[in-house]
Symmetry: C2
Amino acid sequence: MADPVPPAAAAAPAPGSPAWWAARPAPAPPQRRRGRPSRSLDEILAVATELIDEVGGDGFNMRLLAERLNTSTATLYRHFTGRDELLAHVVDRLLGQVGASVDREAPAPTTGREALQALGNGYRSFLSAHPNVLPLLVAQLPVGPNALAIRERAIAALTRFGFSQQLAARAFTTLLQYVVGAALTQPGSPGPAESAVIRDYYRSLDAGTYPHVVAAAEALTSAAPDDEFRAGLEIVLDGIDRALPPRRDGATAAR
Amino acid sequence: MADPVPPAAAAAPAPGSPAWWAARPAPAPPQRRRGRPSRSLDEILAVATELIDEVGGDGFNMRLLAERLNTSTATLYRHFTGRDELLAHVVDRLLGQVGASVDREAPAPTTGREALQALGNGYRSFLSAHPNVLPLLVAQLPVGPNALAIRERAIAALTRFGFSQQLAARAFTTLLQYVVGAALTQPGSPGPAESAVIRDYYRSLDAGTYPHVVAAAEALTSAAPDDEFRAGLEIVLDGIDRALPPRRDGATAAR
DNA sequence: ACCTGAACACCGTTCAAGT
DNA sequence: ACCTGAACACCGTTCAAGT
């Protein structure tokens, strides 16, 4: 009457999940074996990142990566339990660079708005630089060490400027949600087509069925992607401003 | 000296892309052949949707679908050029239901804010009902007939309430970007883990390294997903309010 | 004309055999 | 101990052969 599924196996945590990261706090654990491997973990991740930038997440495969590294796929499986684990590491490794770029843009923000803006812009430039990484990023809630460091810095800054813990968490979450959503629907990212293609498509539609879409074809697609992002970011930042309790002096700008 | 790649083939447009939809305006074209097929296109899409809801986008495959339909994979390829095309149709078919639900919630909105709110909520309930469809939705910029109808209705409503074309387009875009981003990072969607799991993970972190994340573990994860969504939606809607030119009577709420 | 079982190609993963 | 070529399993897609 035993369960047909062996209960002892206890389902290993999915790579990239909180439980999985909890068991693997260091992004690049020290050599697990004697006789050092021909390539360090970080070298493998660097080459994997290059490859993904070139051929996209779909085009990426273990054989291709092994070839680039002059090794065999079986060797890759000695470093990582599988493709998913490798990709989770690639994403977190890149998020480390985001953290660094945010710190570079705003080493000492003087208002919450400034801190959030630097965060939004940093994430945005990362996603522009590595558009093919986006689909990998959205396949998980990033909770690796570098993702956590970004969260830590942001919440620390916001509470320093008087945001309640509740509002700091909400502002951070909402901002990142917008940034990711914007990157996904932005023309030029892996899924969507070029702006010009979409504009022509809207223009070519039947004006009887879709009068407003045809009329707004320009407005819907003409803005440079960066302008559109900036405008959307302003909307979100303004909304966050409004959520802040009023200051004594009556100003409404975020502290 | 001819190009090794046959230039005549002229790269068929990618399924789901604007060019592809342009050539296929009807979601379910009438029988292309005599002797009507055993299953209509819409029946196939309905079963495919069920299957995706059950096993997810990754688990979905052509063999499984063929089995459910008591047919062979080769037959599916007589209706669709391939898996991608089939999925593009599944997504647009579901967006038709979103349009209907938005109209049901707000048949005659009286302010722009109300129209946008109904749109956000409609999209949100769709994504909650079909979480496995989310990864498919973000793999493309939805420009099928039903996606266009939603866009058309929304922009029509906003311009009716005095939004400039520019702001109507921006408000629509920003709102959907937020909704999609929120759904993606929401615990419980395909990628992310359960709230409780993430909360415990944050709590278990080293308080020396991540003091603010540990302290804010509650705030970052305790809100019911719906509350968090509502709060984020408010932030975006408030930001849009601010972008509107002031009314004569001095009120600041969106018209 | 339409349908299908069987094959082909590709890729994640594992294993038996090398050094 | 460590590495690898070859195999296995799975799935998108196509094709030759049936009715």
